[in-house]
Subunit: 312 residues, 2 copies
């Protein structure tokens, strides 16, 4: 099974009745408790699959585990709260690596208002780390809720995390890799404040965090809403030292992708000023269930997996 097949398969085992508002197909499960909603997410990182210790410090690893989970909470407009860590380690736990790892994890959680409150440690042939994180919100922003004719925003320059890996694969030493790429891959920042403000002010009709690449995550939004999208190529915020392909299909951006009604565009502009942070309008949602890239006077159909197919 590939990831999509798995998500389809597992649905029948997920409980999605009151008070559970959302189980599958979201960044977090959503449970209604009184007037609030509990957000519940988990994300694991495995050595040599998700990271290599040759270029990731233990501090950065702890931080990244936090961010990958925090970003799921951000993408629903939530406030992160409580976390449990599972640590599977083939080697004895020694202070030389566990100290920086725990510092990276807990400092990053605390920076965004969350805290570690327990966990489990186990022996394991491969080194893996798993975080389970609970968040809260009064207004969860789901993937569905968008209609054709809305504006698509992203919150960051895209593709830099993926570009970092291109440098690594070429064998370029860390100190020679551009700072913006290192930061994007090794010290990404989750969009907790932005997500929360979009939720509180009800400015986004749908939202997701870009973890598998702009096109794929945008397509998830489209599928949930039975719509398509048109992106304007020169509006896409491509990171420095980054290719268009990386911006479209690279992963681990931890940016928010969200849709906004026309009537709220002005408020989005004000929010951007207030946060002193650019928010990039990259296109619009359309009725036709396809993805297009508009490049000069050409309209190019693109497939979600990043494969580009020219129609004109």
């Amino acid at each position: 099974m590939n990831e999509k097949e798995w998500l389809d398969y597992v649905k029948k085992y997920l409980f999605e009745k009151k008070p559970v508002i959302k189980a599958g197909n979201e960044d977090c499960a959503v449970i209604k408790i009184n007037k609030k909603y509990l957000l519940f997410t988990t994300d694991a990182l495995v050595e040599n699959i998700h990271f290599k210790l040759s270029y990731t410090s233990y501090f950065d690893l702890g931080a990244k585990l936090a961010v990958s989970n925090l970003s799921d909470i951000a993408s629903m407009g939530g406030e992160p709260k409580w976390a449990l860590l599972t640590l599977g380690s083939p080697q004895k736990i020694r202070k030389d690596w566990i100290d920086p790892f725990m510092e990276g994890l807990t400092q990053t959680l605390e920076k965004y208002g969350a805290c570690l409150i327990g966990g489990d440690t186990v022996k394991s042939a491969s080194f893996f780390i798993n975080l389970a994180l609970i968040g809260e919100t009064y207004n969860p922003i789901l993937r569905n809720g968008s209609k054709p004719g809305e504006f698509i925003f992203v919150s960051k320059h895209l593709g830099e995390s993926s570009a970092f890996l291109r440098y690594i694969k070429k064998g370029i030493p860390l100190e020679k890799i551009p700072e913006n790429l290192k930061k994007a891959h090794l010290r990404p920042e989750p969009e907790i404040i932005l997500g929360k403000m979009l939720s509180e002010n009800k400015l986004a009709t749908s939202m997701i965090d870009i973890s598998d690449g702009l096109l794929l995550d945008l397509w998830r939004i489209c599928e949930e809403n039975q719509i398509g999208a048109e992106l304007i190529e020169n509006k896409i915020p491509i990171g420095k030292y980054t290719t268009l392909e990386e911006a479209l299909s690279g992963g681990e951006d931890y940016a928010l992708l969200f849709t906004v009604k026309k009537e709220n565009l002005e408020k989005i502009g004000k929010l951007s000023q207030y946060l002193n942070k650019p928010l990039f309008c990259i296109g619009t949602t359309i009725k036709e269930k396809k993805l297009y890239l508009i490049k000069d006077d050409q309209k190019i159909q693109i497939l979600p997996r990043g494969y580009i197919h020219f129609t004109k």
Copy 2:
């Protein structure tokens, strides 16, 4: 670091201020939300460390992952609610094994009132499964709260799970292993109902689930309360085909161990009748911070790790 060293070490990274009532040193983290308490626990199982597929079916594995987490909720007197699964697999996910695994997991969760609402799947060189489980209670039973002169109860015959592994290590085929041992190891039952009734009726002053052996888990209770305990050997419910040593130090019993004030002994008797389930009084708490086993007219000091040292 061994487990105890780890628990001591990690404390400084755990947040334990309002509304977090308990972070380390409990089976679950406890968070106060309005009048209720949220319980939050996670437990991982790793192939060849916690189980072998040679004697564990995928259905039983799913069930066991559920039980190891459910038992943590039971030990605080909670109701299990929502769970997230992390699945790390070296092989492609195929229906022949994922079907029974998911059935075992979700049927067991549902049997005790919990449900699966999401998760994460990752590639991994070793096969591991992790569950994060949220529960609720109005009255969490913590490990501390007990004083000298109280009565110590356990809720099950002990040592059978450990005895099962003795048969396995001897190379005895599954079909020749006594049923009670197979059931104890492969299909253990978490004490959700008992835990909940002890909580609702405020009958236990402290509680823990026996996952690392009677002595070790009893000693955890003693340490939390700065007390000791005297056990009466012939009151300890040793399982059939099980040794005293296995009952004292074998793990994975998923029994509840709890302390009861004298004034509540009658109520415990009635609860036992009501549930149609024996509850075994195995000794009393004492002021001296030691463990003793009373055997005929001998009083033997025992060490928590199971090493028996005769003093008289």
